[in-house]
């Protein structure tokens, strides 16, 4: 692609309502655009799917983390009380399984919960204080009541005129270029 395109991050169209955005997203994707993103102040069901994002595998990760937590939790207690420093505590067996459960459980939750959040952040690439889309003046509505669709210049089908006119056809409130 040439200079003119490379110095824009992409083109952004603002829409009136969630439906408009959802509709526009579907058509854009249908048109063949792939490197695009939609922004809204509230989660819109089907929107991610509409732009070609098919589910996340976070749950599996959560499960694995939970498992790790459980093993670490129980293992720690077993190692401490049976292997490293066995002591007679009130005549209870060294390996007092039932009494190791609460801590094991808490460790399970801790690992799973914190792990999931961290994973989510990483996958979402947050924190990311700077992002080109913020260059669009009206984008501040995106966290309040604005609904935006952005086609990035990185997309093979992207060319300023063509894409602009395409977006215009989706009867947006307005289309604006996203500076780098």
């Amino acid at each position: 692609m040439n200079e003119t395109e490379s110095d824009t991050y992409g083109l952004m169209a603002e829409f009136e309502t969630p439906e408009d955005l959802l509709e526009a997203a579907k058509r854009t994707y249908g048109k063949g655009y792939r490197t695009l993103d939609a922004f809204s102040p509230l989660p819109i069901h089907g929107l991610a799917a509409a732009i070609g994002f098919h589910g996340t595998n976070l749950p599996i990760l959560t499960f694995i983390l939970a498992l790790v937590g459980a093993i670490v939790g129980y293992g720690m207690q077993y190692w401490i009380h049976v292997i490293d420093f066995p002591l007679n505590i009130g005549g209870r067996p060294l390996h007092s399984g039932p009494m190791f459960i609460p801590v094991t459980f808490e460790m399970t939750i801790l690992f799973a919960a914190v792990g999931t959040v961290v994973a989510m952040m990483i996958r979402n690439g947050l924190p990311m204080p700077y992002h080109p889309v913020f260059n669009v003046a009206k984008f501040e509505r995106a966290s309040q009541d604005g609904f935006f669709l952005c086609i990035e210049s990185a997309d093979p089908l992207f060319d300023v005129e063509g894409t602009t006119s395409f977006l215009q056809d989706l009867n947006p409130v307005e289309v604006s270029t996203v500076e780098w």
């Binding site: 066995p86 924190p127 990311m128 204080p129 700077y130 913020f134 260059n135 009206k138």
Partner: protein
């Protein structure tokens, strides 16, 4: 809307998070190991003494037995620091003029004891007894290091509880024949553990009991 943060902030944000975690865990690591630092446990740090007494000279050089000075090591908790008398028993005959020994002579003359600085100093709540260790085949050297190589006395071990436990959990790793206890040159046999176990059996060391709290904390 204008950007609030410059481009570099993305990089900065991530680095600060990762870096923060790294620094925190580093500090924690130091904190957890503070008692293991030689600086804190004073391992290998000689202290100033009224007389620069050299174990190296007296033990290695002259081959004096530990018990010649530390007389009660086999009888009681306390190994015993020799009275000035003991020093003078030789030094009234040799090195009688040595300026280095003036404090000793002064002590003997004016009947004022010497003030040695304590090297091996356990907390008040840990009740260590020399007699039982010596009689059960734990060599001086095991805890005090190669005293015969120390011109000035210094701690050879941290004396941390975890260090005590090493032996209290598995005496066979350190135990030696009774007759070797005071031998500074003794080297453990290649099959120490096997030999050790035999000795543990012979000396009836109750390993099962050695990690009871009340064995050391009264």
């Amino acid at each position: 809307m204008p950007q609030i943060f410059g481009r570099s902030f993305n990089w900065f944000a991530n680095v600060s998070i990762v870096g923060g975690i790294a620094v925190a865990s580093l500090l924690l690591g130091i904190l957890l190991n503070i008692n293991r630092l030689d600086y804190v446990s004073q391992v290998g740090v000689p202290k100033s003494q009224p007389v620069p007494f050299s174990h190296k000279h007296h033990v290695a050089g002259l081959g004096i037995d530990c018990r010649y000075c530390h007389t009660t090591v086999e009888e009681t908790a306390f190994a015993g620091i020799p009275p000035t008398e003991t020093c003078m028993s030789c030094h009234s005959l040799i090195w009688t003029e040595a300026p280095m020994l003036e404090p000793v002579r002064a002590s003997f003359r004016d009947n004022t004891p010497l003030h040695w600085t304590r090297i091996h100093d356990l907390p008040d709540f840990a009740y260590f007894r020399h007699d039982i260790h010596v009689s059960q085949g734990i060599g001086c050297q095991t805890c005090h290091g190669n005293v015969d190589a120390m011109p000035l006395m210094a701690k050879a071990q941290t004396l941390n509880m975890e260090w005590c436990l090493e032996c209290h959990r598995a005496p066979e790793k350190f135990i030696r024949p009774r007759e070797e206890v005071f031998n500074m040159k003794w080297v453990p046999p290649h099959d120490q553990t096997a030999a050790g176990l035999a000795l543990v059996k012979e000396y009836q060391v109750q390993t099962s009991q050695l990690t009871d709290c009340s064995v050391c904390h009264l």
